[in-house]
Structures are given as structure tokens and as C-alpha cells.
Amino acid sequence: MNEKVQIFQVEFSEAANDFQKFCFMTRAKELQLEACAALEALRLQASKIKQEAINSQDEDAANAMLSFEEMIDALLNELRMWVALKEDDADTAWNYLVSAQYAARTAMQAHSVANHLNGYVQHLYMLEQVLFPPLGFFSPGVIIEQSKCSICGQEYGECEHIVGKAYMGEICLRIIEKIKEIKEISLVSEPANKRARIVRLTDENGIVRNVMTWRAVPQQISDNAETENQENFYDR
């Protein structure tokens, strides 16, 4: 592996061990925010090394640095989740947790430097189970006529890139371009997109409640008031 990547690996490992001590509810919010700022700086450093690897066409190094970027994102999003919970913003906290889970998965798919993340992935899953109430998710069933590859821009079926694999520091996504039909919207327990969820419901007394907080919310509420993160329509 590229020497710069090896040096960064040591630096990241030390930083991750250090910052993980703030990933608890009891840790001080200002220290968690300081850790977030430090992780953002570390991410910039990772992106710079990744760009250098791309410039020198070192695909293994570029993919390893993508993996580090994603590991940093996972930790950063977990810390932001704890901060959001302290700020009584459960909907945002959920989105951060989901981002942390997706980032950890991407890190593992991108390069073997993240092969050790199984325990951390399990930890994030446990947080989902313990910190948040059971949620209902939506899974749209759509008929697609055309999609393109995010790596080369060709029609997805025509190129050789595989969705979910890393190519020169970038994960291949399939961008949906033309939908023929929306067949169904199903309620599922294991969705591909955990942000597509029920955000409010009406209880037995006719009161509309936020599913996370159980607070009563106005009947008419804008669609993005409770959940801001909208994922682009792409496939992994």
C-alpha cells in the first residue's frame, strides 16, 4: 500500500480510538462538538491524499482513502447523532445514525482497510435498536426503463462498472433516469433506505403525533419540517 496511506492509517487509528470515547450520551456536548471539528479536519486531509492518489492513478490508494473518508464520516455522524439527541432533535439524530450506518457500509465495500468494522457496524445497529422506537419504513416498487452509471456516465447495462464497488476513489452508483411506472409503495421492516419512514401518525384519540418524540404535532405540516435529508434516487 502507498506510504502516505499507511501513515494516514496510523493517524486515523489513533484519532478514531481517541474520538470514540466521546460516543456516549454522558459525554459533554462541547467536547463532542470539538471532536466533530477535529474529524472534519481529518476528513479534509484524507480527501487531499485521495486526490493525490487519483492524480497518480493509484486506484488501490484512492479506494483506501475513500474507505477512510467513509470511516471518518461514520464516526462524525455518530457524534452528531449524540449531539442532536441532547438538543432534543430525535428526527435529525435518526438521520445522522442512518448516515453513520451507510458510511460504515460504504467504507467496508470500498477497501479492505475497513474489514475490521464489523464490530462497529454491530454497535450502530444496537444504537438503532436501543435509542429509537420501532419504526415503519416504505419501500417503493418501480419499473425502470433507463439508468446510468455514476462512474462513466454510460447506460448502466453497457459499461463494466459494478454498482457498490469502488473505482478510483468513488463508489459506483446507478442513477435512475427514466421510470416507466410506480407499481407499489410497501411497508417493510428492512428497507434499503431507512430515511423513507413513517414520521407521524394519528393515535386512537385522533391526535397527530411525531413517531419519534410522541409529541402532538399540527395536522398540517410541511413535508420537510421533520425530516430534512432526502436521498437522491440512486441505487447501491
Binding site: V121, I144, E190
Partner: protein
Amino acid sequence: MSIITSEYVDVRTQALKLGCNAPTALALLPINFDTAKSKDELVHEDSVLTIRKLFRQAGITETKIEKDGEKIPYEQRKSFEWVAPTLFVSASLLSQNANFISIALNVISNYLTDYFKGIVSDKTVKIDIVVEQTEKKKSKRIQYEGSFEGLDELTQALKEIRNL
């Protein structure tokens, strides 16, 4: 885990009836291939494009049932269950290479190992394989639903089917 075996339509006859290419070796069949009344109704599983690429990269040759320049749309369900396109394997291909299905399943299994990285919850896959039985002029379908780690058992079930 469940493995269900059932009768399937004669694939070549149905392909010709729908105005498609009749597969001679390996083919990836649309979800509703056996029940479709016309070509316009055909819909592939979402995974078909990726599996085609993986087979191509592994040197596995496929007969596309689509005529040149035609495209069959595909259905995407954004749940975490992974569904493979229906794999059709002709009797002649199996007689030439008895291990062919194992090789194809191995390609899929390797891909799924990466696909399921970082996923803690259920890692369910669904794979249907249609095996042509020349002498009886019909095909058998084996439907597998279970963990991707259990695909070896599907290979075993297929061996038993070939002996029927």
C-alpha cells in the same frame, strides 16, 4: 431457508411465442416470463444488469432473450432483500459442463459477499433456477429463499433435479 421445486413452462416455446430469442445455453429470464402474454409485459429483476456484467467478466456466455436493440424494463424494490434474475440453463449446456451452475452460483455468491458487507440485519436472497429437461420437453424451476451463505444447498438440490 426454503427450496421449492415446481414445473416450469417450456422456455424455448414460450420465448418464441413472445417473439423473443430462444435461449440455447444460459439465459436470464424476466420475472413474469412464464405468465406473460406479450413481450411488452416482460419485466426483469432489478439485479439483471449487474448479474449480466458479472457473468460477462467471468467469461460466462449468455443468450439474451431480448432481440438486438430491444430492452426489457426492470423492477426495483428498495428493500434489503436481494433477488436474482431467473437463471435458465439448457440441457445441452449442462451435458457439456455439469459444474456450470456451481460456477455461475459462485460468481453470484462472491458478489453477494461484498454486497452484504456492513449489513447486520437479515441477509436474505432469492434465486430461481430453471433447468431444462430435454427428454421430457419441459423444465423444472427451483426457487431458493434464504441466507446467501446457504447457496451450497441450492447446488445440491439442483443435482437432485437433474437426476429426476
